[in-house]
């Protein structure tokens, strides 16, 4: 027996020595030392890790079907290099799992940019970022909007989260308190994806992946805080022909930086007071050369798309006598009406898809037990035009022009 114990002892001794040695050997670079917490952080520098995500159960009442999913889990990593230079990034996993050769799921960088503070009132960003268009595109955390689903208008007409590569300047006015502005130059769109699956310009985004940058886009926004109001207007003006001139000529498309341009105009207003939150947004998108694009790709691109929504929400806990007790909680009842017509105006060679003329009513409850966590329940009633066989992209199963969806879910951000 004794040799056995000696063997065990020797094994443990050698293992511990090996582990000690390897541990010491691992801490050889600054990065490893920092990870091991063995060096002091550099003054003025720090790294931030945070994230957000949401889970959702959806029942289609008419089709008697249901799905459960975690639509997005996002990890945020940021690092401050100095007083004036920082890095921000968001890594998103959609639908939890991505499997080769199977549809669904996505792993993508939602943002990855450097931020340079020019002075206290101005900063510059460069990299993959979200232009200030609409409400949801910049402020898309599930704890900041009512309903399990993002608004349809800001999913399709404003294809949130809409990120492109480029340079953006953001600033705050000193003369007019509450007034902010920004302007950005980003890569343009790809008209080949317009109208695909009835999603407007959504499939024309590059989202930072090997983006063709021959065509460009300018975006800009004015944002003004006054009283309980947050008022914003923004525009996007960009070329949609990403090809070289000879290819564009063959396709009979206008080329150049702003060739076959897309013009998007948007305005939104939010009002908050004593538990009441009102949000309204309207957007119009115009694709100037939709006819030429259809002739080139046969994708039934629309010429004009329109959309708007109006939402009322009220935090019932604002009625509580002991308000301080509930200051980090909320119980919001809300109702939203959305209207969108993705085929408002079609070019002569386009086919109007009446299914893309839609109205959605969403009503429900958002409960926030603590800041950063929300539980949501809502019901969406959708009315669409009739489907056009061979043109409309509709969910599988029997087609109905009106449908109801029950949604239950949660969201978090930290």
């Amino acid at each position: 027996m004794k040799p056995f114990y000696i063997k065990i002892f020797l094994f443990l001794l050698i293992s511990s020595l090996f582990l000690t040695f390897t541990t010491q050997a691992q801490v050889v670079t600054k990065e490893d030392s920092l990870n091991a917490g063995l060096t002091k952080p550099v003054p003025g520098q720090n790294t931030v890790i945070s994230g957000y995500g949401q889970g959702q159960y959806q029942r289609d009442i008419k089709l008697d079907s249901a799905t459960a999913n975690l639509p997005r889990i996002v990890m945020f990593f940021g690092h401050r290099f100095s007083r004036n230079i920082s890095f921000f990034s968001e890594l998103e996993i959609e639908d939890v799992k991505v499997s080769g050769g199977e549809p669904g799921g996505e792993v993508a960088m939602e943002q990855a940019f450097l931020k340079f503070n020019l002075n206290r009132d101005m900063y510059l960003v460069t990299g993959l970022f979200l232009p200030r268009i609409g409400i949801i595109n910049e402020n898309h955390l599930p704890t900041t909007f009512n309903g399990n689903e993002r608004t349809m208008v800001e999913t399709i007409l404003i294809p949130s989260t809409w990120r492109e590569l480029g340079v953006g300047l953001y600033g705050t006015s000193r003369r007019i308190t509450g007034l902010n502005y920004n302007i950005a130059l980003v890569n343009g769109l790809n008209s080949q994806g317009f109208g695909v699956e009835g999603m407007g310009i959504r499939e024309g985004r590059w989202e930072g992946r090997n983006a063709a940058a021959k065509n460009l886009a300018l975006t800009g926004a004015l944002l003004y805080y006054v009283g309980g109001f947050r008022i914003q207007t923004s525009m996007y003006y960009g070329g949609s022909t990403p090809f070289r001139n000879s290819t564009a000529d063959t396709l009979q498309l206008h080329s150049g930086a702003f060739g076959s341009q897309v013009l998007l105009n948007e305005a939104n207003i939010q009002f908050r007071s004593k538990g009441l939150v009102v949000k309204a947004l309207a957007v119009r998108t115009n694709i100037k050369d939709a006819g030429r694009i259809n002739a080139a790709f046969g994708n039934n691109a629309p010429q004009t798309m329109l959309g708007a929504y109006l939402e009322f929400g009220y935090n019932l806990l604002a009625l509580a006598r002991n308000k301080e007790k509930f200051e980090s909680k909320a119980l919001v009842v809300f109702s939203r009406y959305e209207t969108l017509n993705l085929n408002y105006k079609m070019p002569v060679n386009g086919i109007r898809d009446t299914y893309l003329n839609q109205q959605h009513w969403v009503s429900g409850i958002t409960y926030m037990p603590i800041r950063g966590v929300v539980l949501k329940a809502d019901y969406r009633y959708s009315v669409t035009g009739k489907n056009v066989p061979g043109i409309s992209t509709i969910p599988s199963g029997p087609f109905y022009t009106n449908k109801g969806f029950l949604n239950l879910g949660f969201g978090y951000s930290f």
């Binding site: 003025g44 009132d121 910049e138 704890t143 308190t177 805080y225 947050r230 908050r272």
Partner: protein, 150 residues
């Protein structure tokens, strides 16, 4: 006949959009002209203390201190002759500089809002704003514990 109706509808629609746009533009213009910018006072930070003259508050209830050795501005709010609150204008969500309005402080990056006590009124921020101790002496407002390392 149908074409005429369509034209009329289009005209009415355009006219409505134009009227709404004009009304919106006018109301925004009136809001802009009625707003006032907050005074900004530069201050050295010595021994982690920023000082500004008490007279800065004669005509204003709020003054923004711009500390020389610190990136973030500090909003000082006069609550009474003897009570002042100093708030760090740094969003507790992702450290963005906040923008003041007549109702509180707002973050342009992700939409967080805070009231003039520094409390979160709108997420995604979770933590309240950092406040600094304020002292009044010799006709000066002294804001203590101001960092100088960033």
């Amino acid at each position: 006949m149908q074409e005429k109706n369509d034209d009329r509808r289009a005209f009415i629609k355009k006219a409505c959009v134009l009227c709404a746009g004009m009304a919106g533009g006018l109301s925004i213009a009136s809001l802009l002209t009625s707003c006032v910018s907050l005074p900004r006072v530069k201050s050295d930070v010595k021994n982690n203390t920023a000082e500004i003259p008490l007279s800065s508050f004669v005509e204003n209830k709020m003054v923004i201190i711009v500390p020389k050795h610190y990136y973030y501005d500090i909003l000082v709010i006069k609550k009474s002759d003897t009570e002042y609150t100093a708030l760090e204008m740094k969003c507790t969500h992702q450290d963005n500089m906040l923008v003041p309005s007549s109702k509180g402080l707002n973050c342009t990056l992700h939409g967080s809002s805070f009231d003039f006590n520094g409390k979160v009124t709108e997420g995604p921020a979770i933590r309240n704003l950092r406040t600094f101790p304020v002292e009044i002496s010799d006709n000066k407002i002294s804001v203590r514990n101001v960092p100088t390392d960033y």
